[in-house]
């Protein structure tokens, strides 16, 4: 048997492969597997349907946020159209399922691919330029996509929205929150594995090189246009898949949710969770989803108490304000996000009581 | 020691917390002197100047050890805004004009340390030293020749009436006649304006001709110092920086020995 790995007291790696390893210790690997088993075995049984709904939303948001993190955190490009791309995925899945009768398991990845292609339309013109032109192009993408979703009525049924058939998987109809829980979280695990491993390949390293210094990256022979575009396509693919899942989960979609605010929400997830950290995206999704629910709950209470009339205290502006504030505070005070906070907490536990 | 304007005591400079470039550099500059600093590429000359002028900070560099004393106050790791207002102005390597500003506007940026004071007289002084700039005063600096630009950036620095002027390779890429002209003007500025000058040069011969004192730098250390005339006569300097054989005559390619003479100080 191979020797168990424990936390070293310094960095003693001798090979690059050691640096690349995902788990520093066997304890980490085991605890992750145990944690995952617990997640799948216990959570769906003990949670109320409402809580399960929230957990499912977190799962979907995590997938989208990981996609955005590949772009922002690893490649150093900002997308302000992630919400719209999420919408493209949702609509693609809905249209594929209703018009073509495509089964769930094909429709969702197909939605991801379509979204990636749509993303390219905005990525190609801006990718040629150095600097943050992609950000501006994605902003345009956000508005153009919103417009197309509403006005291409023959395809999207405009403001009417689309109703989806129930998703079926291996002959089973997915009706309950619980059955969707499994689908969403298995997808999440797959997407996380893909993202983590992507970052260990030459592609991932090229993304990081572009983020750190695009000129130097170009000098080292990285074709930055192609890689920037690839990162953008991958990020859109994640958004599309998440959107597709969301559409099947919601069963009925309209154009409304996919606005700029949603895009900013995803940016908030990435920043709050931790840029350039896959696990961080999940933290960010958890944080933002709970913040959302917390705000909804808080405003409900205030309205019920009668301190504010419902007209004076509407949810949306408060949410915008709080998200903005969270982004600003995290950038100013903990730019590496919750992932860093988590690391600090964890290592202080590990070192306790002999932390130097 | 009252005549000393600037003193570097054993300073070390580190970039990005890891790249140590200067390893204990000490030098002293007397008032009204021209001090020239020579050394091979990458020796750390520019870094030394930046340590003095405070321009290390924006490049993520830091003086980690030692002190820089200017007019009896320690100035290491101060911001460039502070240091320029004490009268230390650096003329950057590679000229760096403001391309989209006219010559005259470029010169006016030189008044930044004395914002609000009249500057017309200063302009006249600069034009007096660099009459070649007069016909071009309204044209964009981006379209000027290298010689004009060198005059421009030196004139720009002169606008601030520096007590200590740091010149980084003013002869870079200029024709020999222009180089001569530039060095003549440096000498005049030193004599007429009373500016103390630190002159970093690859053109060691010219630099040592106008300087009073010289330092030789290698690998982040000062390896030799002395009066300029003494340095110019030193056989090692002659061989490695002036390109002459020990005997003093110009070295031709066929005289190069098959083994390389060791630099004695390394």
């Amino acid at each position: 048997m191979r020797k168990l790995k424990f936390h070293p007291s310094g960095n003693f790696n001798e090979y690059y492969a050691q640096e690349l390893t995902i788990f520093e210790t066997d304890f980490g690997r085991v605890s992750l597997i145990v944690g995952l088993m617990a997640l799948f075995a216990i959570v769906p049984l003990v949670l109320s349907p409402y809580m399960l709904y929230i957990v499912n939303m977190i799962g979907i948001a995590s997938i989208a946020a990981i996609g955005l993190n590949i772009l922002i955190g690893y490649t150093g490009q900002i997308s302000l159209g992630h919400g719209a791309f999420f919408g493209v995925g949702a609509y693609a899945a809905a249209i594929l399922a209703t018009s073509l009768g495509m089964p769930f398991i094909v429709a969702v990845p197909a939605a991801g691919v379509i979204t990636a292609l749509v993303g390219m339309i905005f990525g190609i013109p801006s990718g040629r330029l150095k600097g943050l032109y992609l950000t501006i192009a994605t902003l345009a993408g956000q508005f153009i996509i919103e417009y197309v979703l509403v006005h291409w009525e023959s395809l999207t049924k405009g403001t009417m929205g689309i109703n989806l058939p129930a998703a079926t998987l291996f002959g089973l109809e997915l009706f309950s929150d619980r059955s969707f829980f499994f689908v969403i979280f298995i997808s999440l695990v797959i997407m996380v594995l893909m993202a983590v491993n992507l970052m260990r390949t030459k592609y991932g390293r090229a993304f990081i090189a572009i983020r750190d210094n695009d000129r130097a990256a170009e000098g080292m022979g990285i074709p930055i246009f192609r890689y920037k575009l690839l990162a953008f396509a991958i990020s859109s693919f994640y958004a599309g898949c998440a959107g597709g899942l969301w559409a099947f989960y919601m069963r009925s979609i309209t154009t409304e949710p996919f606005n700029l605010n949603l895009s900013i929400e995803y940016i908030a997830m990435v920043i709050i969770g931790g840029m350039g950290n896959i696990a961080g995206s999940i933290f960010g999704a958890v944080f933002i989803t709970f913040l959302n629910e917390g705000l909804r709950w808080g405003t409900d209470i205030l309205i019920n108490l009668g301190t504010f009339s419902s007209a004076a205290l509407t949810m949306a502006p408060l949410r915008e304000f709080v998200f903005g504030l969270a982004i600003v505070l995290f950038i100013l005070f903990e730019p590496r996000g919750l992932a860093e906070v988590w690391r600090i907490v964890r290592s202080s536990f590990r070192l306790w009581p002999f932390s130097y | 020691m009252e005549k000393t304007l600037l003193q570097l005591n054993n300073i070390s400079v580190v970039y990005s917390d890891v790249i140590q470039v200067l390893k204990g550099v000490s030098l002293a500059v007397e008032k009204n002197h021209i001090v020239s600093l020579i050394g091979s590429n990458g020796a750390g000359k520019t870094t030394t100047l930046k340590a003095i002028s405070g321009l290390l900070k924006p490049e993520n560099g830091k003086v980690t050890d030692g002190t820089i004393i200017y007019e009896a106050r320690t100035v290491q790791n101060q911001s460039p805004e502070t240091i320029t207002r004490l009268g230390i102005i650096q003329v950057l390597e590679g000229r760096q004009p403001f391309k989209y500003l006219t010559i005259e506007e470029n010169l006016r940026v030189g008044t930044a340390t004395k914002w609000g004071e009249p500057y017309k007289k200063d302009l006249d002084i600069v034009y007096h030293y660099f009459p070649a700039l007069i016909p071009r005063r309204k044209s964009l600096a981006g379209y000027c020749s290298g010689g004009e630009l060198q005059m421009l950036v030196m004139g720009r620095a002169l606008m601030a009436h520096p007590k200590l002027l740091l010149l980084d390779e003013p002869s870079l890429g200029l024709a020999p006649l222009v180089v001569k002209e530039i060095f003549r003007i440096i000498k005049r500025i030193n004599e007429e304006q009373g500016s103390t000058i630190i002159l970093v040069e690859q053109n060691a011969r010219m630099a040592l001709q106008i300087a009073h004192y010289g330092y030789v730098m290698e690998n982040g250390k000062i390896v030799m110092e002395g009066r300029a005339t003494e340095l110019a006569a030193n056989p090692d300097i002659k061989e490695f920086y002036l390109g002459m054989g020990v005997s003093g005559d110009m070295k031709s390619y066929k005289d190069v020995k098959s083994y390389k003479r060791r630099k004695r100080w390394l």
Binding site: G76, R319, G324, I327, V328 | V153
Partner: protein, 292 residues
């Protein structure tokens, strides 16, 4: 024909204001390379401050106007000082996301205070100011906006061309290292460009508010339209911003008049994508002077 003229005048006026507000945006970009996504919120802030001063505090209009501008100027300073300055030296992406966060924050705050409804100013300008141009009347607000805009434009032109501070600002935009070496207060320049940008934004907010009514969503949306404007004009060209603004304004006005209003909202962004495709550095971007 009358309709056409009306649309033309409408578009020119709107475009001029777009151009003016884009100018502030370009100023920040040129001095510090920051894309300011909170520009629309600065515009909206100006409009609402003026509203508050005029209707709630009942301060006479000219004084309110100047007061609003002064407050906007200070606000720009404060934003730079407390939010942007701590990030000097950090990767640009943090700074830009910070402005995204600020935008969301300011917008939420304004919505909480003023709500999402349309407000209007009391009638400010006497109708006698209107100009009859053949069959079309040019409403007084257009005249006023043109006059105010031109005054601002020439004041800024003079400021940047002749004043020392203006020249320092341009020097920082041109070569920051060289500016530092000469003792230019680069941080002060950043702060000043935020302050001026915020002032100009506030001014265009007031005028846009007079023309279209005051609504948080609309005004902050105009802040995002500076992107098509500056991409069209070249990200770093102040003159280009004005021309880009005019083009976008006309385009929007004619699309709105002849095709559909909802399309007119996205048409600037469609143009943006096309410009990126065919002429990426804008129609009027600075010709890079390469020789040294």
């Amino acid at each position: 024909m009358d309709f056409f003229l009306q649309l033309l005048i409408n578009g020119l006026c709107l475009g001029f204001l777009y151009g003016l507000s884009a100018m502030g945006f370009v100023m920040i970009f040129k001095s510090s390379s920051v894309l300011n996504f909170a520009h629309g919120e600065l515009i909206a802030l100006g409009a609402f401050l003026f509203l508050a001063l005029v209707t709630w505090a009942g301060i006479p209009i000219p004084i309110s106007f100047l007061l609003t501008l002064a407050v906007c100027f200070c606000f720009g300073f404060i934003v730079e000082r407390f939010f942007l300055r701590p990030l000097i030296g950090e990767p640009l992406i943090f700074v830009i996301m910070l402005t995204v966060g600020l935008a969301s924050m300011f917008k939420g705050l304004m919505l909480l205070i003023w709500g999402g409804n349309l407000h209007t100013y009391p009638d400010i300008l006497p109708a006698s100011l209107a100009i009859q141009l053949g069959p079309v009347t040019i409403p007084p607000v257009y005249i006023a906006s043109l006059v105010i805009g031109l005054i601002f434009l020439s004041l800024f032109g003079l400021f940047f061309k002749y004043s020392s501070q203006g020249i320092y600002m341009r020097s920082v935009a041109d070569n920051q290292r060289a500016a530092l070496s000469l003792g230019v207060h680069v941080k002060r320049v950043f702060a000043l460009s935020w302050a001026i940008a915020s002032l100009v934004a506030g001014m265009s907010g007031i005028v846009l508010g007079i023309i279209n009514g005051i609504n948080v969503h609309n005004l902050s949306g105009i802040g995002l339209k500076v992107f098509p404007v500056v991409i069209l004009g070249g990200l770093d060209s102040i003159g280009g911003a004005i021309i880009g603004g005019l083009i976008i304004g006309l385009l929007e006005s004619f699309t709105g008049g002849y095709i559909s209003t909802s399309l007119s909202e996205v048409v600037p962004f469609i143009v943006l994508v096309f410009i990126l495709l065919i002429k990426p550095y804008g129609l009027f971007g600075l010709v890079e002077i390469e020789r040294v």
